[in-house]
C-alpha cells in the first residue's frame, strides 16, 4: 500500500462527438467517413459566396437525446452564433456554434468502478451543437511544405460536452470517458469512433496542494490535446500530473501567474510537449448567426425524445440485475457490451426463463466467440432462439453442459440447427444403467489400468475415458471417471 500523493488531481474534460446523422449540420452533404477528399461538399459547406445554412432537424434531435441522457436542462429557446477566426480548413472564416445560449446545460453523468475503486458523479457544464471544420494535412513528406485541405468533414454536426473539473485521477477520467462513450453509443447519438475522429477529447488538469498554513495552492491549469485513445488520455494525464508535481516542487508557480498553457500529447514518446501559444487572447468575435433562426424546444418535443430514448446504461445495469437475478458484476459485463448484446441476452433469458444460466452462456461462450471472431452480436450466426433451444435441452437433461458446448461449436461451424446437430451426432442422454454397463465393460477390458488405480495411481483412470468416448460419444467424461473409480474401489 503506497501512501496517497500529497496533492489532489483536478481534471475536467471537453469532449467533441460527431453525431450519427446521414447528412451535415447545415446542408445535405453526406457525412460518410473515408470518401475521396473534397467529394462530399456543396456551396454551403464550401462557404461559397451567397450560400446559406439550413439546420438539420435530425442532428438537433440527436443532440437533445444526448443532453437529456446527461440529465441536462434543455433551454426552451436557443440560438446560433458565429465564432470568427481565419484558418484554411474553415472555409467561411467562421464556425457556426453556440455561445451564450447553448441548447442545454447543467447535467451530470456518474461512473462507478465495478471493482469498487471509485464512484464519481461528474457535472456537465454545457452541451452545445456546432459544425466541424475541415481537415488540414500538412504533408512535409512530399517535400513541398504544402498543406492539403479536405472539406468532406466541414459542416459535420458535433456535440461539445464540457464537464466540471470533477474528476480526481487519470483512471477516473478514462473510466468516465468509457461510460460516456457507452451512453452515446447506446443512444445511437454517435459511434464515438476515435480513429475516425468521431470522438475527440481535450483535458484540463491541475493539482491542488494543501499547504502547511491550511491554504490550498493550485498549480497552473494545462490543457492537453492530441490524445487519440482513452488509454492515451489516461497516460497523458498521469504524465502531466507527475510533471506538474515536479514543476510545483521546483517553481512553486501557482495558477494565475502564467497564461494557460496548451500541451500536446506525444504518444510514442509518452510525454506532453508545450504547444506554440495560440494567437494571444484569441478573440472569436462571437455574434448571433443572422442566417439561421432561433430554435424553440417544446415540452411535447422533449417528451417525444425522452420516450424514444430507451434505458440508459446506468439504469439498465440495475434493471438487468433485478429482472434476471444476476449479480451487479454480471449486469455490468453485459451492459458494457452494448445495447445489441443486452437485447440478445434478454431474448435468450426470456426463452429459457432464467437469467443466470443465460448470462453464463453469454459470458463464457458467446462473448468469447465474438471476441475470437471479432464480430458483433448482430452478425453472430447462433441466434437467441437457437441458443435458448440448446440451453433448454441441457436444462431438461437431454445432455450435459460439456456436451452442449460441443454442440454449440458444431452449430457455429456448420450453420445447422441445434436439433439437426443433435440428431446427426446421435446425441442422447446416457442413463445410469447404460453408464454402469459401459464402465463395467471398460474395467473388464483394461486389467492393467485397474491394477494401477488399485495401486494408488488414480490418474491412470484417464486412459478409460478416451475409450469410453469411442464406445459412446454421449458419455460425460467426468461421470465415466467417477463411476469407474467407484466400481474399481468396490472390487
Amino acid at each position: 500500500m503506497t501512501a496517497p500523493p500529497p496533492y489532489t488531481t483536478i481534471i475536467g474534460l471537453e469532449v467533441h462527438v460527431q453525431l450519427l446523422t446521414r447528412t451535415k449540420l447545415f446542408c445535405g452533404c453526406s457525412t460518410r467517413f473515408g470518401a475521396a477528399p473534397n467529394t462530399q461538399v456543396c456551396p454551403t459547406c464550401l462557404g461559397l459566396p451567397g450560400s446559406l445554412p439550413v439546420m438539420n432537424r435530425q442532428a438537433f434531435e440527436l443532440a437533445l437525446r444526448a443532453a437529456l441522457a446527461l440529465d441536462c436542462t434543455i433551454a426552451p429557446f436557443t440560438k446560433w452564433d458565429r465564432k470568427n477566426y481565419f484558418y484554411p480548413d474553415l472555409p467561411k472564416g467562421y464556425q457556426i456554434s453556440q455561445f451564450d445560449l447553448p441548447f442545454s446545460s447543467d447535467g451530470r453523468l456518474e461512473v462507478v468502478d465495478p471493482k469498487g475503486a471509485f464512484s464519481r458523479t461528474v457535472g456537465i457544464i454545457r452541451v452545445h451543437l456546432e459544425e466541424d471544420a475541415g481537415k488540414s494535412m500538412h504533408d512535409e513528406a512530399a517535400g513541398t511544405a504544402d498543406s492539403r485541405i479536405d472539406l468532406n468533414r466541414a459542416g459535420t454536426p458535433l456535440c461539445e460536452i464540457v464537464t466540471q473539473p470533477d474528476l480526481r485521477s487519470p483512471q477516473e477520467a478514462r473510466a468516465w470517458l468509457n461510460e460516456l462513450k457507452l451512453l452515446l453509443v447506446y443512444l445511437g447519438v454517435s459511434d464515438c469512433n476515435m480513429q475516425e475522429g468521431s470522438l475527440r477529447v481535450d483535458a484540463n488538469v491541475n493539482l491542488h496542494v494543501p499547504q502547511a498554513d491550511g491554504r490550498v495552492a493550485k498549480t497552473p491549469i494545462v490543457e492537453i490535446k492530441n490524445m487519440n485513445s482513452f488509454r492515451s488520455v489516461e497516460r497523458a494525464l498521469a504524465y502531466e500530473t507527475a510533471r506538474q508535481w515536479e514543476e510545483w516542487q521546483a517553481t512553486k508557480a501557482e495558477m494565475g501567474t502564467t497564461p494557460k498553457q496548451t500541451r500536446g500529447w506525444d504518444d510514442p514518446a509518452g510525454i506532453t510537449r508545450a504547444q506554440r501559444h495560440k494567437e494571444e487572447s484569441s478573440d472569436y468575435r462571437y455574434f448571433p448567426e443572422p442566417d439561421l433562426v432561433p430554435v424553440t424546444v417544446s415540452e411535447e418535443q422533449l417528451a417525444a425524445v425522452r420516450g424514444a430514448m430507451g434505458e440508459r446504461p446506468t439504469v439498465l445495469r440495475r434493471a438487468l440485475a433485478e429482472r434476471w437475478s444476476i449479480s451487479p458484476y454480471d449486469a455490468d459485463v453485459l451492459v458494457n457490451q452494448g445495447r445489441e448484446l443486452v437485447a440478445y441476452f434478454e431474448d435468450v433469458a426470456t426463452r429459457v426463463g432464467e437469467g443466470k444460466v443465460a448470462s453464463n452462456w453469454l459470458q463464457q461462450d458467446v462473448l468469447r466467440t465474438l471476441n475470437e471472431r471479432n464480430e458483433s452480436v448482430d452478425a453472430f450466426p447462433i441466434r437467441p432462439d437457437a441458443l435458448a433451444d440448446l440451453i433448454g435441452r441441457v436444462q431438461k437433461g437431454e445432455f450435459d453442459t460439456s456436451r452442449g458446448r460441443e454442440i454449440f461449436a458444431e452449430v457455429l461451424a456448420s450453420g445447422r440447427s441445434v436439433a439437426d446437430v443433435v440428431a446427426t451426432l446421435g446425441i442422447a442422454a446416457v442413463g445410469d444403467d447404460e453408464l454402469v454397463a459401459l464402465c463395467r465393460e471398460l474395467i473388464a477390458e483394461n486389467p492393467k489400468i485397474v491394477a494401477d488405480v488399485k495401486g494408488g495411481k488414480e490418474q491412470a483412470a484417464a486412459g478409460l475415458i478416451g475409450q469410453a468416448k469411442k464406445k459412446n460419444p454421449n458419455v460425460n467424461p467426468g461421470k465415466v471417471r467417477a463411476k469407474c473409480l467407484e466400481l474399481i474401489r468396490g472390487m
Binding site: 456551396p43 459566396p49 451567397g50 446559406l52 468575435r285 455574434f287 442566417d291
Partner: protein, 508 residues
C-alpha cells in the same frame, strides 16, 4: 413595335400575342446597351450570345405551342451580387474578378423558370457597400440624367440601365437603401420587399439580417409583375417567409379611399433640399387627391438609424467577408516575398506565417477602401470589450426602431416621405467624406432595420432636370398596398414616363 418604349407588363403582353418576338425584344435592348453602356457603365457583363439563344428557344417553343413561362422573353438585368452559373459574379470587386458560381441564386432560378431573358450583370458598389456606385472596382456608373453625376448605390447599375432604356427591368438588392435610393436618383421605381419575402440564397451577403432582393423597373405595375415571380418561400433560406405570395398585379387597380398615409415631421428637418421637399409635398397632395388621408406620425428613434445601421451592417459584413481569403477561390496575392511587402499590404509586416501573409496581402489587394473600412469598423465593434457598447447596444436600438414602425402602423397604413435629402450629387463630391456618404441613407435605413418594405418612385424633377424620389413604407408584408399606392400615383402623374436624353445617340 419599339420594345424600348414599352413597360414590362406591355412587353410580356406583346410577346405573348406575337406582336414581338423574344429575339427582337432582346436585340433591341442589347443594341441599346451596346450604344449606351460605354458612357454609363451600367453593365459589368453583357451576355448577348446567351440572351439571344435563350430568346430564340423561347420563340421556338411559343411557335410550336409548347409551354412558356409567365415572363417568357422579358429581358432582365441582374445586379452582379446575384449568383449566376452562366455569367461571372464579381460584386464589382477585384476579389471576385472572373469568379463563376457553381449555382444560381434562388431569384435567378425563379426568373429562369419564368423564361425571363438575362441581358447581363449590372455594376454596383463593391459588395453592395456604398451609395454612389463610386466604390465599384470596375469604374463608377454615370447617372443617365446627367453623366457628371452619381446614379446612387449600391444598385446604381441596375437603376441606371432601366433609366437609360437598356433593360425594362433589373433586379437589385437593398441593405440600407440600395434599391430605393438609386431608383430615386435615376427616376425609376424600386421596391425593397419585407425581409424574408424574397429568398437571399445566392445573394452574396453584405449584412445578412438587412439584405433583401427586389425589383427595379419603370413603374409599380412592372415591379408587381416581377414580384409575382421572385417572391416566395425557399426552404434553402431559413429566414425566408412561408406566407403565400399574392397576385400583386391583380391587387393594383383600386382607389386609395380610406388609406391613411403617415408623414414624419423629422423627415423635413434641416438638410432636406428645398426642391426635394417641394416634390415630396406635392406627392402627398397627389395621394390625397387619390383618396388617401395624410396624418402626422412619429418615429422617435429614427435619428439613431444611421449609427445603428453603421454598426450592425459592418459587424455582419466583417464576418460575411472573412471567407474571401484567397485560399479557395477569388483573388490570391502572389507568393510571399514576390510582390508588395507586408507593410504595403496594410499589415505590420514581419513575423507572419506565410499563410497569414497570404491572407493579409490577398485581402489588401482584393478589397477596395470602403470594404476595408467597413470590415475594420465591424471587426472593432465585435471585439472583446467593445461588443456590449456597440453591437449589443445597436441590436437593442434596432428593436426600438422596429417597435416605432409597428406603433406607427397602428394608426396609419403607409408612411411617406423623401428617399434622399438631395437629388443626384456629382461624382467625386462625397468620395473623400465617408460620413457625408453614409448620410445618403438617412431616410432608407429604418426600413431595413425594421425589416419592413418600402418603395421609391419619381415624384418630380428639379429645375436642372434631376429626378426627385418619393418613398412609401408599409408594415410587414404590406407589398400589395405599397404597389397599389405607387401604381395609383403613377396613374395620376407621368413623372415615371420621362426619359433622359439617350447617352450614345438616340435609340434606333
Amino acid at each position: 413595335m419599339q420594345p424600348l418604349e414599352l413597360s414590362a407588363v406591355d412587353l410580356v403582353a406583346a410577346l405573348r400575342q406575337g406582336d414581338l418576338t423574344a429575339v427582337e425584344c432582346a436585340t433591341a435592348f442589347l443594341d441599346r446597351i451596346d450604344a449606351g453602356n460605354g458612357a454609363i457603365n451600367a453593365f459589368l457583363a453583357v451576355d448577348r450570345e446567351g440572351a439571344l439563344a435563350r430568346a430564340a428557344d423561347i420563340d421556338a417553343r411559343r411557335r410550336s405551342g409548347r409551354p412558356v413561362g409567365p415572363l417568357a422573353g422579358l429581358p432582365v438585368a441582374l445586379k452582379d451580387v446575384l449568383c449566376t452559373v452562366d455569367m461571372p459574379t464579381t460584386c464589382a470587386s477585384r476579389m471576385l474578378a472572373g469568379y463563376r458560381p457553381p449555382y444560381d441564386a434562388d431569384v435567378v432560378e425563379r426568373l429562369r423558370r419564368a423564361d425571363a431573358v438575362f441581358l447581363g450583370k449590372t455594376n454596383m458598389d463593391e459588395f453592395a457597400m456604398g451609395g454612389s456606385n463610386e466604390n465599384s472596382a470596375f469604374g463608377p456608373v454615370r447617372n443617365p440624367w446627367d453623366l457628371s453625376r452619381a446614379p446612387g448605390g449600391s444598385s446604381g447599375g441596375s437603376a441606371a440601365c432601366v433609366a437609360a432604356d437598356m433593360a425594362p427591368v433589373a433586379i437589385g438588392s437593398d441593405t440600407g437603401g440600395s434599391i430605393r435610393q438609386p431608383a430615386g436618383l435615376c427616376g425609376i421605381t424600386g421596391l425593397k420587399p419585407t425581409y424574408g419575402r424574397v429568398s437571399r440564397r445566392g445573394l452574396v451577403a453584405f449584412a445578412s439580417s438587412l439584405d433583401q432582393i427586389g425589383p427595379m423597373a419603370r413603374s409599380a405595375a412592372d415591379c408587381a409583375l416581377i414580384m409575382e415571380t421572385i417572391a416566395g418561400h425557399d426552404p434553402g433560406d431559413s429566414t425566408s417567409l412561408a406566407t403565400e405570395v399574392p397576385r400583386y398585379g391583380q391587387l393594383l387597380d383600386k382607389p386609395l379611399t380610406g388609406v391613411r398615409i403617415g408623414r414624419v415631421p423629422e423627415h423635413f428637418a434641416e438638410g432636406l433640399d428645398p426642391e426635394v421637399a417641394r416634390g415630396v409635398e406635392e406627392a402627398f397632395a397627389v395621394l390625397e387627391a387619390a383618396g388617401a388621408t395624410v396624418h402626422e406620425v412619429r418615429l422617435p428613434h429614427a435619428r439613431y438609424g444611421i449609427p445603428t445601421y453603421y454598426l450592425i451592417a459592418p459587424c455582419e459584413a466583417s464576418s460575411n467577408l472573412a471567407r474571401y481569403d484567397g485560399a479557395h477561390y477569388g483573388h490570391r496575392a502572389q507568393a510571399a516575398g514576390q510582390a508588395a511587402s507586408g507593410r504595403a499590404a496594410g499589415g505590420a509586416g514581419g513575423g507572419d506565417s506565410p499563410l497569414a501573409e497570404m491572407y493579409r496581402r490577398s485581402r489588401a489587394e482584393g478589397f477596395g477602401p470602403e470594404v476595408k473600412r467597413r470590415i475594420m469598423l465591424g471587426t472593432y465593434a465585435l471585439s472583446a470589450g467593445y461588443y456590449d457598447a456597440y453591437y449589443a447596444k445597436a441590436l437593442r436600438v434596432r428593436r426600438l426602431i422596429r417597435q416605432d414602425y409597428l406603433d406607427a402602423f397602428q394608426t396609419v397604413d403607409l408612411i411617406g416621405g423623401p428617399v434622399s435629402a438631395t437629388p443626384a450629387f456629382k461624382l467625386g463630391e462625397k468620395k473623400d467624406d465617408p460620413l457625408a456618404m453614409y448620410l445618403v441613407d438617412l431616410y432608407t435605413v429604418g426600413t431595413n432595420l425594421a425589416g419592413v418594405g418600402g418603395i421609391s418612385f419619381p415624384c418630380g424633377f428639379t429645375r436642372s432636370g434631376l429626378p426627385i424620389g418619393f418613398q412609401l413604407q408599409a408594415p410587414p408584408l404590406g407589398e400589395p398596398l405599397l404597389l397599389r399606392a405607387a401604381d395609383r400615383f403613377q396613374q395620376l402623374t407621368d413623372w415615371h414616363r420621362r426619359r433622359p436624353r439617350p447617352a450614345g445617340g438616340a435609340p434606333a
